[in-house]
């Protein structure tokens, strides 16, 4: 498969958005006038950055987690939570969270119905026509549609996270109906993301998209006459990336060592042995190149004649020769999902995606413990794991250490801003397109990773930096370079100025405050989760220098406020 490129590759064809789109439009107006009250507002906003409250509840959590009934004390605290558990905060979200508390919000989100599936949307838009058989048309659009507009933002955030752990890239699907393979895959992640890890793993393993991406689809038994061997691709990556990783782990995510060296989880021989389990699976159709693409939404099925003969092995567990393909698969997935590495290995990555790049060992251990047992003796309850991640004190207390928090990934920043300013697509087009171009866009686009190793690696340490000197992992920095920082700012300036396609920001609420720069910037900053007092002051002063005597001036204040906030390192580093 065409799966392995450099993470964070800049080497993309620059076929879009080449023209620099300056934002100096007719709507802009000059003006240099310091707006009174800016500094007062900054000081007020700083007061919002108070510690987490909600301690008087009866259903007290363990000492390291806040109670389910805990409530954010401030708007900024509420927005901070929403930035971890979802993408964005609205005034109504904040109000609901402050009155109902974290637990109720999570309950509501877990129970929320799914919006129109990717597959159904593509069909409704006509992308099932035969002319789209070898096309990705519509796929970027439907991904953006859900990320930006679906009300179940916790599910959307978790699905994005899972799509960066169980990576499939639409760029690496050389089959008919690749857009429906991708759509079916993301729909499957949505359906299983709040269920059990074991079910999720099976959904991933038997999905047509993963079958194509990591070549398990069509993998056949060995042939002694020709010397042909089973394909090892899925056997390797299901262990290295999807379940247990390369090193034996302690419960807190640290590597077990022997004589100072990490202990491997498996050998080459064990991969070769496991590869024989993953033989005989293919699409659930007799005509993979026909006009019917419905099989892309069904698990792959097994053909006994293509299944490897003889006994098989998954790690140290022997699968008897008598086991048929589905039974052998079940034993393999059961064994991997039951491995003690899974809790810390997957738990740490989910923490990294939602909350922080460098969770403490204790945080990982607490989440892994919930993975191992949700309190009812059930293992791999993803709902409980997500709850544990978000209600841990380490998540609920704003990070103050210089290594705390995480760089918001570029897709997250775009989606957060679009949700915050109520961007919609009146024509239901969502024509944002592929944002992979690092020089003119985000250097990242959903379901378009350069390889199964994702846009960034969980263990990435930025070289030549204080982070590197202190061995601090910061995965998203793998995408951060001299080109992408410029591409992001330029792209966001275009979006803030005029949106894209029929997607337009709604600045009504901002414009109502624009006469008072301090109120305007404070509102914008609060919705994004808060920034430092100094940054708030810098931005308020600059925005206040734009004359607000005309509608155009007010609009420029709004736009400048958003762009400066989106550019500020306080915002880009989620804490």
């Amino acid at each position: 498969m065409l799966t392995t490129e450099t993470p964070g590759a800049l080497a993309l064809d620059l076929d879009e958005d080449r023209s620099p789109q300056g934002a100096d439009t007719a709507a802009d107006a000059g003006g240099v006038q310091l707006h009174a009250g800016a500094l007062t507002a900054a000081a007020a906003a700083a007061a919002l950055l108070a510690a987490c409250g909600g301690g008087s509840d009866t259903d007290a959590g363990t000492p390291n987690t806040v109670p389910q009934s805990a409530k954010p004390a401030t708007d900024v605290e509420a927005a901070r939570f929403l930035g971890q558990a979802g993408f964005s905060a609205s005034d109504s979200d904040i109000t609901a969270l402050k009155s109902g508390g974290y637990g109720r919000w999570l309950d509501q989100q877990f129970g929320m119905a799914r919006s129109t599936s990717h597959t159904d949307w593509l069909i409704a838009k006509g992308y099932g026509a035969e002319s789209y058989k070898y096309s990705l048309s519509g796929m970027d659009a439907t991904l953006w549609r859900k990320l930006i507009s679906s009300p179940d933002q916790l599910r959307q955030r978790v699905v994005l996270a899972l799509s960066e752990i169980f990576v499939v890239s639409m760029n690496g699907l050389p089959v008919a109906w690749p857009q429906f393979a991708t759509a079916g895959y993301v729909d499957m992640l949505e359906a299983r993301c709040f269920g059990s890890f074991r079910d999720l793993l099976e959904g991933v393993t038997l999905s047509p998209a993963m079958g194509v991406y990591l070549a398990m689809r069509g993998n056949r038994k060995e042939d002694p006459k020709t010397g042909r061997q089973p394909d090892e691709n899925y056997a390797r990556e299901v262990m290295q990336l999807f379940t247990i990783g390369l090193n034996q782990l302690n419960a807190d995510g640290s590597a077990k060592t022997s004589n100072g060296k990490p202990v491997d989880t498996y050998t080459l021989d064990q991969i070769t042995a496991l590869a024989r389990v993953f033989t005989g699976w293919d699409f659930d159709t007799t005509n993979a190149n026909g006009t019917d693409f419905s099989y892309m939404n069904r698990p792959m099925v097994h053909t006994a004649a293509r299944f490897s003969t003889g006994a098989k092995q998954v790690l140290d567990v022997t699968i008897p020769e008598s086991a048929d393909g589905p039974t052998a698969m079940k034993t393999a997935l059961d064994t991997l999902a039951a491995h003690p590495n899974v809790g810390p290995f997957i738990g740490r990555q989910l923490i990294q995606r939602l909350v922080a790049s460098n969770p403490s060992a204790g945080y990982v251990q607490r989440v892994a413990a919930v993975f191992d047992d949700n309190g009812k003796g059930e293992r791999g309850d993803l709902r409980a794991v997500i709850r544990a991640i978000l209600l841990d004190n380490e998540a609920r207390t704003a990070a103050t250490a210089p290594s705390g928090g995480k760089l918001r990934e570029p897709v997250q920043r775009l989606v957060q801003w679009m949700r915050t300013v109520g961007v919609t697509s009146p024509g239901d087009l969502w024509a944002i397109g592929d944002c992979s171009n690092p020089a003119s866009r985000l250097g990242q686009s959903p379901l378009r990773s350069g390889s199964v190793f994702n846009f960034f690696r969980p263990g990435y340490v930025p070289p030549n930096s204080q982070l590197g000197a202190n061995n601090v992992t910061a995965p998203e920095f793998q995408l951060c370079n001299e080109s992408t920082v410029a591409g992001y700012l330029n792209f966001m300036q275009t979006l803030v100025n005029s949106g894209i396609g029929d997607l337009k920001p709604d600045y009504t609420a901002d414009l109502a405050l624009a006469a008072d720069a301090a109120s305007l910037v404070q509102r914008q900053a609060t919705l994004l989760g808060g920034v430092s007092e100094a940054t708030l002051a810098t931005i308020t002063t600059a925005v206040g220098s734009i004359a607000a005597t005309t509608d155009a001036g007010k609009l420029n204040r709004v736009k400048a406020g958003w762009l400066l906030l989106l550019a500020s390192p306080d915002y880009q580093i989620q804490k």
Partner: protein, 462 residues
């Protein structure tokens, strides 16, 4: 290092002259530079010469079996039997069969993949050499030692990300410096602007980060200006200035600090690069496609070397898609065609610029692959064949040991996965020596080089 002895007095001057440039480079104090590095850097500048190394990384693990194909009748027959449907038919290889200046042993012959025909003339002209069965090793290792695990082996063999990292840095994933960057460290003070010592036009690779050297990343279409900084922002100069302050200011939080350091570097380098490139004319045509665009940009940057103040540079370009567990027969030839044609254009461009003797390009990849087939592709392996190209390369021949064409043969750790007989460290050392690193200084670039008695493979002219 023939120039070092007469340059003692220059050392200090060069060092002071470039101390400010170095301070851009990173957190480590420039004072930590060793005297030897100053010597090497000063020599590079004083000689008025220029040398550059270009790493062309084939992401995913290139299939060695269909890149350099056994061509003599007996070897090809063995190859075809093992590879089955993956095998390239012998009659398709006649045009790219190689006639090396030093014959291969036992009457063996090898051919380039048919779609690598673009670089056959470069081989014939003596500017392209083939490195046989090269890969990651901690020390020379026999098959018996591998099986008994009686010597240290590279960690995480056969794993993409880790073997990419080992090739580039001698360590598995998580490494924070690579030998390209450490090579850059030796020459930082000799370059007028340290930022342009290590330039990556394909993304992010640990290969390019040194102890002090920072990899400067740019796109193959050039450096990108931040519009809100270079002009007024929504009509407001004050907002533009605020933007610059916000994205470049000092920060105490390490992540904020790093983000702003990258952005500050982006802003300062962009104007220099853009100005330098605006004066470049390069007539050599390159094909469309990602790799060609990257090598085209590298050629332009080399053409602009004086404006960039560069005496020694390391570049990184890459192409992905080589992890061909299936559709190998369909996809691999297309990828190799991009590689061969882009390399050929680059060779022509360097000749046009009059610097072909000053630039050496080498291929690298995660690992080789199995020789045996999994039906329509091959699986992760270890050793592989690679190419080194440039006017200073003693090309037109093979270096290293030609492996047997067999499964379970003397160099095979399983299914035709080659146990390397030449180490990446040895390739790196040979290139480092050519760049001007002294023998005694090699361990600072390649900490494990002491485990290999042959540190110069002899494929470069002095």
């Amino acid at each position: 290092m023939t120039h070092v002895s007469r340059l003692a007095s220059l050392q200090r001057r060069e060092f002071l002259k470039h101390a400010s440039a170095l301070s851009i480079a990173g957190t480590a104090a420039p004072w930590a530079l060793q005297l030897a590095a100053i010597n090497e850097a000063a020599a590079a500048t004083a000689a008025g010469d220029y040398k550059a190394l270009v790493c062309l990384f084939l992401y995913g693990g290139n299939d060695y079996g269909n890149t350099l194909v056994p061509y003599d009748a007996a070897s090809h027959a063995a190859y075809a039997t093992i590879r089955q449907t993956l095998a390239t038919p012998r009659d398709q290889l006649a045009a790219t069969a190689l006639t090396p200046s030093v014959a291969l042993p036992d009457g063996r012959q090898m051919a380039l993949a048919p779609t690598l025909s673009g670089i056959k003339p470069v081989f014939d002209a003596g500017r392209l050499a083939v490195m046989l069965n090269i890969g990651t090793l901690m020390q020379p290792t026999t098959l018996a030692q591998y099986k008994a695990q009686s010597v240290p082996l590279p960690p995480k063999l056969f794993s993409h990300n880790d073997q990419q990292s080992l090739w580039q840095s001698s360590k598995p994933e998580g490494a924070i410096s690579g030998w390209g960057g450490r090579l850059g460290d030796r020459f930082l003070s000799g370059n007028g602007n340290a930022t342009f010592t290590c330039i990556n036009v394909s993304g992010n690779a640990v290969f390019m980060s040194g102890g002090q050297a920072v990899q400067y990343q740019m796109s193959s279409s050039g450096a990108v200006a931040i519009n809100g900084v270079t002009r007024s922002l929504f009509g407001s100069q004050a907002c533009s200035e605020a933007l610059r302050t916000l994205v470049t200011g000092e920060r105490s939080h390490w992540m904020e600090s790093e983000l702003n350091r990258v952005t500050a570097r982006s802003i300062s380098a962009q104007s220099t690069i853009s100005t330098a490139l605006s004066n470049v004319t390069l007539a050599t045509p390159f094909e469309t496609g990602s790799l060609a665009a990257q090598l085209n940009m590298v050629a332009k940057l080399i053409a602009a070397r004086s404006s960039l103040g560069a005496a020694r540079q390391v570049f990184f370009v890459s192409l992905g898609g080589f992890d061909l567990h299936d559709v190998l027969v369909d996809q691999h030839p297309k990828l190799l065609q991009q590689v061969g044609n882009a390399m050929a254009s680059f060779d022509t461009a360097l000749t046009e610029l009059g610097v072909n003797n000053n630039v050496t390009t080498f291929t690298a990849s995660d690992f080789g692959r199995t020789l045996s087939s999994n039906g329509d592709g091959s699986d992760h392996g270890w050793g592989s064949h690679h190419l080194v190209m440039g006017g200073a390369v003693k090309g037109g021949r093979f270096y290293g040991q030609l492996p047997s064409v067999s499964v379970n043969g003397p160099d095979d750790v399983g299914q035709g996965r080659l146990l390397p007989t030449t180490a990446v460290d040895q390739l790196a050392a040979t290139l480092a020596l050519w760049m001007g690193v002294s023998v005694s200084d090699l361990p600072s670039v390649l900490p494990g080089i002491g485990n290999f008695s042959q540190q110069d493979l002899g494929f470069m002219t002095a």
